[in-house]
């Protein structure tokens, strides 16, 4: 942590993510729809793998019931 191009940007991101995760759970939305991972700009292959895996996970969950909101 803290090893970020934007100084403490990743620390802020983690805080924001955990807050959003709590809100999502309160609202009864599947927490598996959210994912946080640290990927450096030099890790192209790893980024592609994570994005592919997460896409598969979302496809498995199917469309959210919230499609119409907001």
């Amino acid at each position: 942590m803290g090893d970020c191009h934007y100084l403490d940007g990743n620390e802020k991101a983690e805080k924001m993510f955990s807050m959003a995760l709590e809100l999502v759970k309160l609202l009864g939305i599947e927490p598996e729809r959210m994912h946080l991972e640290w990927v450096s700009s030099a890790e192209g292959g790893r980024f592609a793998q994570i994005a592919t895996d997460f896409t598969k996970q979302i496809r498995r969950l199917g469309p959210s019931r919230l499609k119409k909101a907001a």
Partner: protein
Amino acid sequence: MTALSELVEETQTYFCLDCGVCTGSCPVARVFPDFSPRQIIERSLYELEEASDGTIWNCLTCAQCSVRCPANIDFPEFIRRMRDEARTLGYDGTPAHNGMLQTIMAIQTQNIHQDRTAWVPEGQTATTGDVFYFVGCRPFFDVIFRDIDAGAIGNAANVLKLINRCGITPVVSNDERCCGHDALWNGNEKKFKQLATINLEVIRASGAKQVVFSCPEGYYMFREVYPRYFGELGFEPVHILDFLSARIDDGSIAFAGADGTVTYHDPCRLGRLAGIFDAPRKLLKAVYGTQLVEMPRSGPNSVCCGTSGWMNCSSCSKQIQVERLNEAAATGAHTLVTACPKCQIHFRCTKAAFDIDIDIVDLYDLLADRLKVQAD
């Protein structure tokens, strides 16, 4: 007939005497002279005012103007309807917190299964019964405002403790939605109606005859606004302050005294709009006796906490809040007591940012702490 002339017709703003009491009373106009309720009304009469992203979004809808208006013009209602019109044209003011709270409200209009009652101690609530405790948005505030130590869910637990101590095990529901207050005042009547419809279904299904509120906005909405849109509710909205006040009178609860000087901030929805001024003072006097002191602007003249409906939080809001906290400190009180989660959030935010030396305490936290085990 244009939308504006129709609005003028229906809200009867043509009765305006041009006296300026509204602008003279307005907490926003004090710090932001470009905002003038009197001029907005006057411009509307000449069809010069338009539904836009302009000044109509700066109004706090705190009703300080309308309670003083000699022509009984309901300026907040006029503003609300202007906003509704503006929204159809794509304007929405400036939502605070990047619109996060408006998004939560929008999600709540959908068929979701919330998980918002994890804070409830086991066995302290029921799924059906005569009394429903409408918790309000605290479960969400608890997460969003943790940084400024405000809006904590512990307060709802304390309200529940007070209700339990009166011998009642109320219904608390995962299906409760936002009361729709902010949606309505953000000019989104449609969203308000969707939220209110679900709340009415949930409460009616619980079989409750009374619904207890600790949030001023929820209480005001259910008592004054829901019947206007939905007719007879089939249950009675009760504010926890009236509920506790009656139980002090009959001796079923009592509070231990405490030292220190405190002052009380009347939330606009609870005071001016719902008329509850005496009950909070009676409860505070039960704890602090004569050490409850009043600010110059109190009771019906209480000033708004500076932001409403989670929008247009600006340097004007901060100035209103700083002035209010300094006013509280100038009474000699060490504690400012609030009875509204939003007032608490706004004041704690300002206290943290401006380092003002006064404690901000929630009335129900204070009361639960001083509750006597057995009334003597």
